[in-house]
Symmetry: C2
């Protein structure tokens, strides 16, 4: 039998009724001839309740106990989902992380998956079981303790199972009906994409599109797991949602696949920095140690042995960056004059694998922004992405202009 992985997030299993709705979708795929592996999250709100108890009990908690407590949420949903399927006369059973076993390293609360031996579940499929319901987000450490995978852990669990079992597809049921050319709250012209390449999805996810966690897309790309994102609240046929897949599966597409944005950015400039070998390491080492997520970096041309160094980071990390830099100056690691923070900026990006073969995308992007009189503060590019920092007040206008200029409201 071909294997299908289906993952239901917290809102999709928030009540017994919603679990029943999700189970019906599973039943339909069983009727289609699949052996199904269902990955479930905790019922919406449960994980927050458990985390709240842990934090109230122990502000600097032992992550091993955190994992023991927090993993119970998925365990409950998995049992209830298995029971619901059994009520529909579908042979099903639940599996906790340690039962599979989903082996992880020992980095509690943020563990990485190391191995998913498929033998146990495959043996049950061979005996006639049709659905394995697996508690997402959890595994077992080499020491035999329960681990959790951290943010996005359930999506990652689903992709890892699809890879380990050679599943035909991994369907991620969520509260949106797919991946859009941009945020529909910003322009009503935003259009759902039928397909998107792994690389594009990865850029969009890391740029703030909240549909899929970066980590799960990375894993899907590495193992070529076809990933479908679709809504658990809408009915749709075979073509529902968005398929995230290898670019070879995408026949024809727009040069630009989507426009992403990140609202709360800050632009930091270190002025009059001594320009010497190793200066970048001297600056960005302490920032990394302080937990500042530096994104874009631009270095000015040097004048008289000095330069300006500009970088961007999330606006809520500005204080941390300032502290790290003033400490680095005190210890003599870095010499600079001022650290100027502009906390009123946003990042807007266009993403598309078509850029690789089409020249002129950057020029068209800059022209569209100029036509709206939007000043560009910083530019960075990658093979399939161009990002700019602009004043935050122009962010929505910029997204709309770029969506229009690249014709994203129309399919290729």
């Amino acid at each position: 039998m071909p294997i299908l992985v289906m993952k239901f997030g917290g809102t999709s299993v928030a009540t017994l009724d919603r679990i029943r709705r999700a189970a019906k979708r599973v039943g339909r795929e069983v009727a289609n001839g699949y052996d199904v592996i269902v990955i479930v999250s905790a019922m919406a709100g449960k994980t927050n309740e458990l985390v709240g108890w842990v934090e109230e009990t122990s502000p600097f908690f032992d992550a091993r106990e955190y994992d023991a407590v927090v993993s119970s949420g998925e365990q409950v949903t998995a049992g209830l989902m298995a029971l619901t399927l059994q009520e529909m006369d579908i042979p099903a059973r639940s599996w906790q992380g340690w039962q599979v076993p989903l082996r992880t390293n020992s980095a509690h609360a943020a563990a990485r998956i190391e191995d998913i031996p498929p033998e146990n579940i495959k043996a049950k499929f061979a005996e006639g079981m049709k659905v394995a319901v697996v508690a997402g987000f959890q595994g077992i450490s080499p020491e035999g303790r329960t681990t959790t995978l951290g943010r996005g852990g359930s999506d990652t669990t689903a992709v890892a199972f699809a890879a380990a079992f050679g599943a035909e597809r991994c369907d991620i049921y969520t509260d949106v009906d797919g991946v859009y050319t941009t945020d529909p709250r910003i322009t009503s012209k935003a259009r759902k994409l039928d397909r998107i390449a792994f690389e594009e999805m990865l850029e969009l996810a890391s740029l703030g599109a909240k549909v899929l966690q970066t980590r799960s897309v990375e894993l899907a790309m590495r193992y070529k797991v076809r990933l479908r994102v679709l809504s658990s609240f809408e009915e749709g046929g075979e073509d529902a949602g968005t398929l995230v897949c290898d670019e070879e599966e995408i026949m024809e597409s727009n040069v630009v696949a989507g426009v992403a944005y990140s609202r709360d950015e800050a632009k930091m400039t270190l002025t009059h920095v001594e320009d010497r070998p190793g200066i970048a390491a001297a600056i960005f080492g302490p920032l990394a140690d302080a937990g500042v997520n530096v994104d874009m970096i631009v270095q000015n041309i040097s004048e008289e042995g000095h330069t300006d160094m500009t970088f961007s980071c999330p606006v809520d990390q500005v204080k941390r960056a300032e502290r790290a830099m003033s400490e680095a100056r005190e210890t003599g690691e870095v010499g600079f004059k001022d650290l100027v923070a502009d906390t009123e900026v946003a990042k807007v990006s266009v993403v598309g694998i078509g850029m690789r073969s089409h020249a002129g995308v950057a020029a068209q992007m800059f022209k569209a922004l100029r036509d709206e009189n939007i000043n560009i503060k910083v530019i960075t590019t990658s093979e399939i992405k161009i990002s700019v920092l602009i004043d935050r007040k122009y962010m929505e206008l910029a997204v709309q202009a770029l969506h229009d200029t690249f014709g994203l409201d129309r399919a290729a």
Copy 2:
């Protein structure tokens, strides 16, 4: 280090505050020089919530999935208790049933403990851990699935750990402060016992005293685990609560230790039963198959090849008993004239190991009841117990009269 087992029930860990209070008691025993094994129940109300979800999902549920869901409650408390102890700088960690492992048979939702290998936890004690917090009520089946132990499972877990680890004592923290000579709601003269023998506790538990589950007392008696029942809501010294122990530890005691009662009994009489070999089996076989818990049985003297057979059972099983008997008559298994049900009776019992060596307890009991004009309907006796069925309306009067006549308001 000597080992102490401490068990906290659902009301004793109902909130984070109460978990902290329980942890303080644990801390005191650690300061007293013990390595402590703490057995915890789910926070009060949690198990009912989980059971409710299971039953709503699937009225005739798969007990394996029931166990997967319901066992999560204890898991949460165990993690929170370990964190609380860590906050008090006491080295502690949590263990789920499968981690110990607490091995059970495969009778899901009512599993029996088969083995508790102490090596894993002992190794941690040797490394400096002071408290092992164990999720009560749960284990692992030979198939590697989570099992639960059914009613009274957490008390039973605690006693089994005390036996497996050779603990000095097993302290059961609950919402009453010990075992009483009788129910204090019936007579204010009821007195807390400092000590009670296993056999007496066993009779009292099976007669309806709700302090300890029969199963845990049986296990304690078999392995000679000294069991202390005490309140988690009151402070008490070394002598707090009631010690359930071997009778050799009880120097001097009253002939009668306590008076128990069971309010909702029914007396059933089969009239004009054919008196032949095998007739008792023919009657009580079908009753057992129908799930009727027959308690007392009395057979009248036979007249002309026929007899009357009287038995008692819980009043809510009368319908079931009537159905079973009329079916047995239809199939010709049993011949009788009428089945007369008296649903207005109660059972009152006196219990005490002193009866073994003291004659005249029964006579004194019957005289006390006669002095109150209470008619006795059925009598049964065991080595350390005498029970009578009487009209329910006299139950409280009977308990008070018996408590008085045996002088239970005064210590021996």
